[in-house]
């Protein structure tokens, strides 16, 4: 036990003297968070320009009323086509023989969708208006109906929104933030711990360490304690920054977020140590990033899992980041307590136990007892 502490102390000492690595762990996530906040919340709506050819003016007026839509009238199809080609407009609405023909530039899927939505909404609105005016005309001819209409006419109901999580400004950033937190912890702990053990191996300190009566498990646990502490600090910095500076709401307990991330950090550490035994140099360690780290991002919940094919979804079950993403999302957005996220935490603990056993056994490569 004393040796475990001593190893943990030494690893921490080494880390705290490496100012650049420390800055990477603590400041890099914050920098990326700021960037993402700016990128995802600055301008979520784009202006869409629509060309119309031969479209009745009442409908054009209606389309113009839609937010962020601008309408340009063109006299002929050719002129409109040229405008489309010159990227002056994003789509053309052409009325011919009682039908609408819509031509989309489709360089931006969201603009295409906006064009379609604007057109159909405007058509419904125009139809209702026409219906109304017909009704009014009929009512004018029939006093009894006019009286009925008077009593029925009410102002249109207003929609009042309330939000379980966040407010009307809640964006994609808020959704991926809990997952990102886990990603930062995983990424940095995986990389730095893997490198640290690799360095012990290549400089010969691991051999020398194993030439003392230290237990193999004491080495692994020593690393776990030090990186666990580091993960606590890192998570606290990220969480406090997002809550107080980026003003992201956390419904559940902040401490539960920390607990999940510490468990994840342990898994990342065990993963890093295990992978470092397959690397001969720091550069080879870097090569694990596209293989081990990046694929996890896709399955961590940043892209909704339920939109994927079933067999693809199943891949997520063997990736630790999926479970941490699920658990932190539940805490941050639904306010789940520790009991409700036992499932994902349990899964992470299974990863941890298996990887730790593999690591203790794996050190046998360097000393047979």
């Amino acid at each position: 036990m004393k040796r475990t502490w001593s190893i943990a102390k030494r690893v921490l000492k080494e880390l705290f003297r490496d100012k650049r690595t420390l800055a990477l762990m603590f400041l890099a996530p914050i920098l990326i968070l700021i960037l993402m906040k700016v990128v995802f919340t600055s301008n979520s709506t784009t202006d869409v320009n629509i060309a119309t050819v031969n479209v009745q003016s009442s409908l054009v007026k209606q389309i113009k009323k839609v937010d962020h839509i601008k309408v340009y009238k063109y006299s002929t199809q050719e002129k409109a086509n040229k405008a489309l080609k010159d990227q002056k407009v994003d789509g053309i609405v052409h009325y011919k023989n009682g039908n609408f023909y819509v031509k989309n530039a489709n360089t931006d899927a969201s603009k295409t969708a906006a064009t379609k939505a604007a057109l159909s909404a405007s058509m419904v609105a125009t139809n209702i208006k026409e219906l109304k005016s017909t009704l009014t005309a009929m009512a004018a001819a029939n006093p009894q109906a006019a009286a009925m209409m008077q009593s029925k006419s009410q102002k249109t109901p207003k929609i009042h929104n309330t939000y379980v999580y966040g407010d009307k400004d809640t964006s994609f950033f808020d959704k991926i933030l809990p997952i990102l937190m886990g990603f930062f912890v995983f990424f940095f702990v995986f990389l730095i711990s893997g490198m640290a053990l690799l360095k012990e191996r290549t400089t010969g300190t691991l051999d020398r360490l194993l030439a003392t009566p230290v237990r193999r498990s004491e080495i692994v646990f020593g690393y776990m304690i030090s990186y666990g502490l580091l993960a606590i600090v890192q998570t606290l910095i990220i969480v406090l920054f997002t809550i107080y500076v980026l003003k992201v709401e956390v419904l559940g307990s902040l401490w539960n977020v920390v607990i999940v991330n510490v468990v994840l950090a342990m898994v990342a550490l065990a993963f890093g140590i295990l992978m470092s035994t397959f690397a001969k140099s720091e550069f080879q360690m870097m090569q694990f990033i596209p293989i081990i780290v990046i694929p996890q991002v896709f399955f961590s919940g940043i892209i909704p899992l339920d939109t994927m094919a079933h067999w693809v979804q199943n891949i997520a079950y063997i990736l630790p980041l999926k479970y941490s993403g699920q658990a932190t999302t539940d805490i941050v957005m639904s306010g789940s307590n520790l009991g409700q996220i036992m499932g994902p935490i349990g899964a992470l603990l299974i990863f941890l136990v298996v990887l730790t056993i593999l690591n203790v056994l794996g050190l046998k490569r360097y000393r047979k007892v």
């Binding site: 004393k2 040796r3 001593s6 030494r10 000492k13 080494e14 003297r17 490496d18 400089t203 010969g204 300190t205 051999d207 020398r208 360490l209 194993l210 030439a211 003392t212 009566p213 230290v214 237990r215 360097y366 000393r367 047979k368 007892v369």
Partner: protein, 247 residues
């Protein structure tokens, strides 16, 4: 020999298909300095790794203190200095020593006393609080040796202990090694420096995974009719090469 403290019996070690150690047999009695000599790739480091229990033998046994290695508990009684310096560069010399003292299970006042003593032996007392990254090559080597001397070891296994250390200090270190021997410690030292081979009690000459000779330097010189161990070494190497060619 009854009082052998390190003993190898018919040890065979293969890495893949390559035989690194070929039926090595020797007994090292307590209280001697044994020089392990041989060209690089001869199997010196593998012998050390087997004695430390880092590698297992395919055949035969290595026993230390009468017990078969690998044995974790016995490592407490063995001081080891690797060929590489194997130091934590961002820590100070004192922190390095403290760490390895912890690993060896030496603590408190005793650890402090030992740290000061070994630092004095390798003349690093004034640089104890400097970070190792600022050390010269020779200072690192000395610190590495100091670490090996920590604890209550009875056996010391030193892999090239004096590489990069200037002659004056080398002489001093050797006198310290002799002092340790006189206190009843056993030392197994590998070296490339042939004049150091004159300073050991027994020379074990390893060539191509085989133990070619094991005797005192004086006996070896007499047997091969040479005036230095270096010449003995060259002669043996030469003969061995001829054997390979003509067989």
């Amino acid at each position: 020999m009854g009082n052998a403290i390190i003993s190898m019996k018919n040890v065979v070690k293969k890495f893949g298909k390559e035989t690194v150690l070929n039926h090595i047999d020797f007994d090292i009695p307590q209280g001697k300095i044994i020089g392990l000599i041989g060209p690089s790739g001869a199997g010196k480091s593998t012998i050390i790794k087997i004695i430390l229990g880092m590698e297992k033998t395919q055949q035969g046994t290595a026993t230390v203190f009468g017990k078969i290695m690998p044995n974790r508990q016995l490592l407490n009684r063995i001081g080891y200095m690797a060929q590489t310096d194997a130091l934590y560069e961002s820590l100070t010399a004192k922190e390095n020593l403290q760490f390895y003292a912890d690993m060896k299970g030496v603590s408190g006042q005793k650890a402090n006393r030992q740290i000061l003593h070994v630092a004095e032996v390798v003349e690093l007392t004034n640089d104890l609080n400097k970070r190792v990254s600022g050390y010269s090559g020779g200072m690192k080597r000395r610190l590495s040796l100091a670490i090996a001397m920590l604890g209550d070891s009875e056996i010391f296994i030193l892999d090239e202990p004096t590489v990069g250390i200037d002659p004056a200090l080398r002489r001093q270190i050797w006198s310290e090694l002799h002092k340790m021997r006189d206190e009843g410690k056993t030392l197994l030292v590998t070296t490339h420096v042939m004049d150091e081979a004159e300073l050991v009690d027994d020379v074990a000459l390893i060539l191509g995974g085989k133990l070619i000779a094991y005797d005192t330097p004086a006996n070896l010189k007499a047997e091969y009719n040479e005036d230095t161990v270096e010449n003995v070494f060259l002669k043996v190497e030469d003969e061995n090469e001829k054997n390979v060619v003509y067989r």
